[in-house]
Symmetry: D2
Subunit: 474 residues, 4 copies
């Protein structure tokens, strides 16, 4: 493994280039590596299940990424469960292929999942353990050799995790771990031309990389995630609590955070908004239930709020002020959990739409409402948004669910009265939809899709038909 | 349906833009369209099974694409079989999803294949019916609305096929059919920004489109397809005949055509090359078993041959001359079926490699040989090639097959004594591998991969746990 | 094919015994037969799609099986769609296997679906075309050689269908068609010992055969099918119409016919029962919307009604009388569409339960109601029943559906406001559940389950590890 | 859990009868139990991975089942790996269902794997840990409540394992553990009528149970397992060693033990038989590489040998004598590893066939040879055998493999130069084929097939078509 701060690209280029396109292993080669990686996963899962190890990683995450202990521990827990999922033979089960009879005796076609060989992974700051680890192991399971870059602010977490993996007998040469700025990484990618690059991060960088790498990429980018409350008002306490968690946990710095809430008119007269407000006001800096925003300054968030308040009919529901009594550096943001109401009809106007649906990666959400006969306007708003990561349809009305789900595309959509926008566990697919570059994370389907391609081998061993003779040319 | 020669882009843009991202149908909406498309397929398959209809299309193909009647009829036959495969309920079976139990009562996660909505298809000249029809129907089956462009030289074939589909009750508004040059099509794509574009054609255009469309693309581009003959010499007549068909059928204008032949030393003393020569010399212009080359001139092919003959040890095995007594216009090529021997060690030299592995989309192949202990050099040559479409490993030696297959990546690889490089039937995957942008064609797996993305919907309908209370913020 | 009335068993025994256990074809042998059967299906589907052919079969069915023209035509239509589903390559796609990497280089395990070889099919009178045809083709698709027996009263339909299949190029030696009584068939089975026997018919015969054949059997036996109406009263016209069709179409002679209706108390005050009555009274002998009952006499049905009316609180809702003005022979039954109300609490008593839940294969149903807090009693009744074929939960209340569906086991259960008990189309599984002997019919899953078994072949071709030496004995 | 020696059946009947047919959990109910069982598996796997725990179980196995330490430890190891395979979310992944779009808006069909509810498991003496544990967990994973009976001679092993599972938090009421003789167990089964019974053991008992339980059973019974050596003689040392292990490990008391060896004539002149003899003679009582035979006495084995030696051309190759210097009780067998040669043509005679192919569950095998043109006779012999558990085709000749594999049916067949008959790991299917009652063990496919049935739920929630009106009766 190449590890440490990068001064020069060449050794990393050289290391990755050594990996052939057919990978470190594939279904026809190096089969014992499937078992090895199953064993590594079993052992690493067991390590993370130890309270002192889990605590170590949770606290390490907290040192670099602003989230509560419980959120950090949740990240460790999901990582542990993911590793359990690929214990024993489960890595080789990922390499399951299929075969279909051919046209004649001796012919049979096999569909394999084949690795890409040399690949790259670029992971963001907000989940310093879960995102890089899950993508890294997925890449390895399918037979690739990854070069991994994690946002430098938080890369110490994966650096420690890699040491744990080495302790669990992951071969050191399986992964190269780069510490670099974005410019250097870009240079590295252009030089080494990985067969596949997985990028998790902002849409802006994603689009640049997609063009630079000519589409040899899978993306999990930002989301302006919506939640629609249906006509059946119920479980108001529960829904308010889920809204609070969806919008403000990790100070809103989840790509799945609730960015906009569409309330059916029946909810307007409920206690929902007051309850959301009181829940938001429970959050405090001491336990990091609210905390620094790493990519947007306080100033620019307040400015954004001001612009929005210029829209007719808009109003501040709660928050909207800077945090007080803190030592958060100016380069970061510090905002109270904030919700702004914008009228639906105003929002849909073309001069307002981009402003209202601009993603703020912080403790901030838009709230609006709609009449029974305005549902198509809500769906139109969702259709016009650019990224389609998570969504929630909070209703137990089956025909309402059917209408909204059948007319939307978000990759991870929760439905039902307990629906949320956040929640990226290891047991179900998480990722955007609606774009052929979309990545997923963690599930068998996601791993196979992101980290392997289809290869078909058609065996045609004969025998020749009896008395075969050379046919005419065609 | 928008149809006819394109003068202005706007009506096509307008038509495609009307299709929402959630498509014309999806697993939760417009279910009756799955049945409709199954019926269209049943009927169209039955039409193509009529001898007079098959003959009509075979002759129409021959008028625009230089290939023998049998090759043209084969294209019609594969199209028919493909349509049979999606008769009855088989279109809706493509939309099969899966579900997994959630964490608690009322939670269940569903993995769906979701359409992209507005999409584009760009198809080449060499298979005027099969490629556009299979991709078009695949796109429709999964719920997309495609704008289809076929190379103008041959687009009359699909124009007729679309009329047949309309007769079989495909709704006219399901497909827009553009006739345009490449520049106009590029303009169209940049303006309408389809959610997905399927491109089949040259690598050069593929790379440009990939960058223009920021990777929202699936590609099936050119191939420099190799064949390796293993140590077990047998069935020489058969192998020679397959080589002749692989290299020279359709005058070598298949993306799966044999571009290079690696012979194990045991084959050198066999009758293989003389037999290949005599088979090549059977080919004649009258029945189009050899014919015009649409994208390379005679002159540039002869020039390429001259350059190759400058390599030490190279020699012309057969062919190497222009066709005679024909009226093929100068803008096209006209070359006798040609094979050149290049020594393996010379080929691997960095100053020769690009020249030797340059794809000539015509009746032309490289031949080389290797000693028992030079197999790694052969595999190294295959690894260094750029595109990885088809390949053949002609051997029944299981350990030899295992070695070559486990160290290569071509997307459609035939193995065994009957192995070929061409053969793109409807029953097994056909497409390149080793690149996340790779497309496949025709099989259920290919259709699902190319024309849909994963969407996960997690139902979470409750009930809440008894005595549920609001937890602390996290 | 052996065909015609059976006088002697031996030729049938001899013919079936010739089929080896590895079948007429399997994934490694006789691959061209998959294509042949795909072609037979394509052609036969096309034949049945011709109005005159469909009409011929519908009228032929009506001559022997008492059902309306529309019901008979529906049977033909489902048969046609089933055949379309296995057009082209879809038969070989049924033989799809999977492979998983082994422990070391050269090892790979393959899971195949293998045929049983010689098998038998016994089909009942009520679906003279659909049941035998679907099971027959399923058996053939997977590589078996079936001997087919259809109830002699109706076997002329399959006799004609077999001629059509032969016309569509099904090889004559693929199927033996026996006309015999049950005793002779039993003798045949005991002598030839088919590797598998599919039986569709009464529970009584099913249990006898299961013991005689030592469990080498798959069963689709009778059903006492229930429907539960949930708390959300809506679409009363629609629900009443579905109840009428479920209970009385084909004079109740569907194994999926509604045998008992549990109404939530909210429905009691609705117009449901009166509407059901008026719909039942539309039925008339002329168009066979009501008609002869082939396996129960009028007398025994009236006797059963009398016994039920002895239960306290029971009452006749409608019907309960013999049909009039007809020439139906005495050996058959002739009853007006009948519904009886039995109080839930009485029904559950152990001395009443068997009587109330006795299946009457005629136009007869039990009706009962339950209070909101009696749902567990309803579910307990369903649990105590013996066969678990179809069921319906008529409600759009998601928590109600979840409760009933999660606490029941019927193999084909419809849920939602449009739920029915009948409906055995070709696109979804139809069959009982809760018993390892259960068969399904028509879908790819059913065909694979009923007509093939798992075979695993593990290739282990080497090479041996370098320097391998003989280990100690263990 | 009911546990301990059974004196009276009633409490066990009562306990099992409490389990409803819809099981302890199913895909729509008790979802948290999937996670619970995943956790139990993770923990139990980790326990078995501890050297002292593995050693404890290996030695415990050795105390009751005569096998070498390495064989016993192998059993523990496979059990551990199996449990690893169902760590984390993998239990719920077993419950994965599928869905297909219906005919109209609001209709969708779901195919579930549903439990049977109350079930029974009967396990034999030869794998006291692996067989009962794997089947037990499989039954639990799918939602069943099993009553488990292990052969009383060895049941102490599972009794200890159950304590370990309880320690790993398996709920005590999930499993009932019966200690009884066969008669009592039979009484229990007839009384409680489990919905499914898994029996592993002798064919004689299997057939009786199949009739008693009317086929509600899955069987893994004895095997007369064959090995065919193909024409390509190679790796003689290796093949001899595998033969020795296949025939004599665990003193031949594996249901997968090699019972007959068919040698191609090319092998006759090789050193194979002498090498097999010298390997057999390495085996010794001290380390249990040869040991007591639990179900056949020495006397009856010697008698069987005598009978076989009466066949013309037969001869003793090695062994054929009682073990010496031991204290094995007379009720058990004690035989040196034995091989007898029987001429193929003699073996096929109808008066010899049953004698030659009688399974001796001890260290005993038949050897024969065949000429190149006698392969069909060999295949005919295999076809005529009754049970089809394991087999081996020792050859790397692809056409030979194809011929033998395509004309045989054994459920677990190894192919290739490294082929063996024994080897029942957790990563690939193990079980007989050719019979609808066949069970498998350990893999996801086996668990789903044996321990669940198909249930289809069709949601049909509407809305109704606009302006829907009651149609005519049909």
């Amino acid at each position: 493994m190449k590890i440490g701060i990068i001064f020069e690209v060449p050794p990393f280029v050289e290391s990755l280039s050594k990996c052939p396109k057919y990978g470190l292993h594939n279904p026809l080669r190096g089969q014992e590596r499937y078992l090895l990686l199953g064993d590594v996963s079993t052992k690493a899962a067991h390590m993370l299940a130890q309270p002192e190890v889990a605590d170590f990683f949770a606290r390490l995450i907290q040192r670099v990424s602003p989230k509560s202990y419980k959120q950090a521990l949740g990240e460790v827990h999901i990582t542990q469960k993911f590793l359990e999922n690929f214990s024993g033979d489960q890595v080789r089960f990922l390499a399951r292929s299929f075969a279909v009879p051919g046209n004649h005796l001796g012919q049979q076609s096999y569909g394999y999942r084949w690795p890409y060989g040399p690949v790259a992974i670029i992971a963001p700051f907000n989940y310093p353990l879960e995102i890089p680890l899950l993508q890294l192991m997925g890449a390895l399971y399918m037979g690739n050799k990854p070069t991994l870059k994690v946002d430098s602010k938080v890369s110490i977490v994966m650096e420690q995790m890699l040491r744990l993996l080495h302790y669990c007998e992951l071969p050191k040469e399986d992964v190269d771990f780069i510490n670099s700025d974005g410019v250097t990484m870009n240079k590295f990618l252009l030089e080494v031309k990985p067969k596949m690059t997985l990028f998790t991060g902002s849409s802006r960088v994603a689009e640049k990389l997609a063009a630079d790498l000519k589409g040899r990429i899978r993306l999990e980018d930002a989301g302006f995630d919506w939640k629609i409350l249906g006509p059946d008002v119920q479980k108001v306490d529960y829904v308010a609590w889920v809204c609070d968690q969806d919008a403000y946990a990790c100070s809103g710095q989840k790509c799945s955070a609730q960015s906009i809430l569409f309330m059916h008119e029946n909810w307007v007269s409920s206690e929902l908004i007051p309850k959301m407000q009181s829940l938001a006001e429970r959050r405090k800096l001491e336990d990091l239930t609210i905390g620094p925003v790493l990519t947007v300054t306080t100033e620019s968030m307040l400015e954004h709020i001001d612009k929005l308040l210029g829209i007719p009919g808009s109003k501040l529901l709660f928050g909207g002020e800077a945090l007080e009594n803190h030592s958060i550096p100016k380069i970061y943001g510090a905002l109270k959990p904030t919700a702004l109401f914008i009228p639906l009809t105003e929002m849909l106007k073309s001069n307002n739409f981009d402003l209202v649906t601009k993603e703020i990666f912080g403790p901030f959400q838009i709230v609006t409402d709609y009449k029974q006969d305005q549902l198509m306007m809500v769906l139109d708003a969702c259709e016009r948004m650019h990224s389609h990561l998570t969504a929630a349809v909070v209703s137990n009305d089956p025909l309402f669910l059917q209408e909204v789900l059948g007319k939307s595309v978000n990759g991870t959509t929760y439905a039902g009265i307990r629906a949320r926008t956040t929640g990226a566990p290891q047991n179900h697919w998480f990722g955007p939809a609606g774009d052929p570059r979309c990545a997923g994370i963690g599930t068998p389907e996601a791993i196979k899709l992101v980290w392997s391609c289809h290869r078909e081998i058609i065996y045609d061993i004969g025998p020749l038909p009896q008395h075969w003779e050379i046919p005419s040319a065609t």
